[in-house]
């Protein structure tokens, strides 16, 4: 197979698969620009995916109903803080579990895997009691601190750091580099893709927070974007146009983030890296 035919084949396969996967997103975006009565009238045909009768009304009405920018800012703020702190805390933990020798390492690793299994529903109430006894209800702490350490992220970092060749680390140690320095100056630069992946997956996870914020926030001040979206489900009749507009609006930051992170998806470890 020549390169050219291979590319053609890949493109065709990708286009077919993409259409199968992107339809809901497309429907959501297109519907957000349609008059209310059109959204479901078009649903049973291909018209559902065509921007007929284009209008901004849904966006205008949606922005009129809730302080969307404020909720968006709140979400961006606490989710970003949570995820960035998470990268720091979880990556060093994952590194220690992958590459450092200490007693109890296997036990901690096992515990991390086991704790991923705990269903959030079963710890929701006890967790609320703990946060409440710390007097954190209605503060940013309640939204951020409990979720910084994350077993999933630790385990993912650990699995990826396993593949970092020991030779690089050993030669750095011989040169007198401290473990933290080795980690920051050698391991981190090699691990762009895993940091990017952990970040985006963690971000999406918290972008959808709903139950927990309702429990720990009462006032308007800390309300996040998901609580804002729920506003549109409470009033009968439910205006699906406005729902689609809000959902589109709240998906945009994630898509932008996703695109921004693409530059980290470049092949990391090269032979040059190993020699260095």
């Amino acid at each position: 197979m020549t390169d050219r035919t291979a590319k053609l084949f890949l493109n065709i396969a990708n286009i077919i698969m993409s259409l199968l996967f992107i339809t809901p997103l497309l429907w959501m975006v297109v519907s957000s620009f349609k008059p209310e009565t059109q959204i479901f009238a078009d649903l049973s045909s291909l018209k559902a995916l065509l921007p007929l009768n284009f209008t901004f009304d849904n966006y205008i009405a949606a922005f009129d109903r809730i302080p969307m920018m404020k909720y968006l800012f709140n979400s961006l703020f606490y989710v970003t803080v949570t995820c960035i702190s998470g990268l720091v805390v979880n990556s060093i933990c994952g590194y220690a579990l992958a590459k450092l020798q200490f007693k109890g390492r296997e036990f901690v690793l096992m515990a991390v895997i086991a704790l991923m299994i705990v269903p959030f529903e079963s710890i929701l109430m006890p967790m609320y009691f703990i946060v409440n006894s710390l007097n954190w209800v209605d503060t940013w702490y309640a939204l951020i601190v409990p979720f910084v350490a994350n077993c999933f992220s630790i385990f993912m970092f650990r699995q990826f750091f396993m593949d970092v060749p020991n030779e690089i680390l050993e030669s750095a140690a011989i040169d007198g580099s401290s473990p933290m320095k080795t980690f920051i100056s050698i391991v981190v630069p090699l691990s762009g893709p895993v940091f990017a992946t952990v970040f985006i997956l963690d971000y999406i996870n918290h972008w959808g927070d709903f139950m927990w914020p309702i429990l720990v926030t009462t006032g308007e001040a800390l309300r996040n974007i998901q609580l804002g979206i729920q506003t549109f489900f409470t009033l009968p009749p439910v205006y699906y146009g406005q729902i689609m507009a809000t959902l589109t609006f709240t998906t945009v930051p994630i898509i932008i983030l996703f695109l921004m992170l693409q530059k980290y998806y470049v092949q990391g470890i090269t032979s040059a890296g190993i020699k260095g």
């Binding site: 197979m1 890949l10 493109n11 396969a13 698969m17 993409s18 199968l20 996967f21 809901p24 997103l25 429907w27 959501m28 979880n90 060093i92 933990c93 220690a96 450092l100 020798q101 200490f102 007693k103 390492r105 096992m110 991390v112 895997i113 086991a114 704790l115 991923m116 299994i117 269903p119 529903e121 079963s122 710890i123 109430m125 006890p126 601190v145 409990p146 350490a149 077993c151 999933f152 630790i154 385990f155 699995q159 990826f160 593949d163 473990p179 893709p193 895993v194 992946t197 997956l201 999406i204 959902l247 998906t251 898509i255 693409q262 998806y265 470049v266 092949q267 990391g268 470890i269 090269t270």
Partner: protein
């Protein structure tokens, strides 16, 4: 003389190795400390409480009347047909979804791990079901699966196959959810595989094509083996996510028809929150936890680290 000297050297070496080991231990503990402390307070501690609740009769609205009842919840649980049914459904879903979804994810990752102009568009497309709100996805899939006028039934009609009830049938509901779940979540695992693919050195591919390896040989002998640790990770977390299956059946079938899509997570939610039986729900969580720990550790044993 000679031997004494080397014995000394050996001692010094050992001492320094010991020091190094101790130092490495200290560093190791300090690296894991922040995570471990946070996890202890916000995950282990709440779970211990849940564990204790498992031995009580605890109505969420009556915290003052919490009552220690020993193993009663567990006795009740092992007589509860719904528990066995949910356990079976959960395992059934997991056994099918884990291999299928991981394979689809790997295929997608391989499809977009090339220098294609529209690469980022394809990646967004595959990833989009993960970021699109479940509300939107549920509206669309429920309409696709509509037993009377859905798009899938229209297509079947075209091939003169009779209309199918899909989500509204005890026989088909679980399979409909499995199909939809694979579609919805494969993009998630794709991202992890994609990150793993970046770790494979280009040089190996170049060297192998000089040696005359074709693309399929490269896939078989370079790509797949290099993804070993990543694949272990993907299989583990897919298993864990699969056994926690909640959102799809909650939104699309609420466990029906006739409990054929009731999963353990749904059962815990219903007992703990809707019925407010926090004690009983905690007992289910504990058993659930033990089962999943058993599964993932068997997996871990099976896939040793390389």
């Amino acid at each position: 003389m000679q031997t004494a000297w080397s014995a000394d050297e050996h001692k010094i070496k050992q001492a320094s190795l010991g020091r190094q080991k101790r130092r490495e231990s200290v560093v190791g503990y300090s690296f894991i400390a922040p995570s471990v402390i946070l996890l202890l307070v916000f995950l282990v501690l709440p779970f211990m409480f849940a564990f204790l609740f498992g031995f009580t009769k605890f109505n969420l609205l009556r915290p003052d009347k919490i009552q220690f009842i020993g193993l009663d919840n567990y006795k009740l649980l092992f007589q509860d047909n719904l528990f066995y049914k949910s356990l079976f459904n959960t395992l059934y879903f997991t056994v099918i979804v884990v291999p299928v979804q991981s394979a689809v994810a790997l295929m997608l990752a391989l499809l977009v791990n090339h220098q294609l102009k529209l690469r980022n568009v394809y990646r967004i497309a595959y990833f989009s079901p993960v970021v699109t709100s479940m509300t939107v996805i549920a509206i669309l899939w429920i309409s696709l699966y509509n037993p009377n006028e859905g798009l899938i039934n229209s297509a079947l009609n075209f091939f003169e196959i009779p209309k199918q009830p899909f989500l509204r049938s005890s026989d088909q509901a679980m399979h409909s959810i499995i199909f939809m779940s694979v579609w919805q979540a494969a993009g998630y695992q794709m991202m992890i595989f994609l990150a793993g693919l970046q770790g494979i050195s280009k040089d190996i591919y170049e060297a192998s094509s000089i040696d005359g390896a074709n693309r399929f040989q490269q896939l078989r002998f370079i790509t797949i083996p290099s993804l070993y640790n990543v694949t272990v990770f993907v299989l583990t977390i897919t298993t864990i996510q699969a056994v926690k299956l909640f959102v799809q059946p909650y939104i699309m079938t609420n466990g029906g028809p006739e409990n054929t899509t009731r999963t353990l997570a749904l059962l815990i939610y219903q007992q703990g929150f809707q019925f407010r039986n926090a004690g009983y729900a905690s007992a289910i969580s504990v058993i659930f936890f033990l089962i999943v720990v058993f599964i993932s550790f068997s997996m871990k044993k099976f896939f040793r680290d390389r």
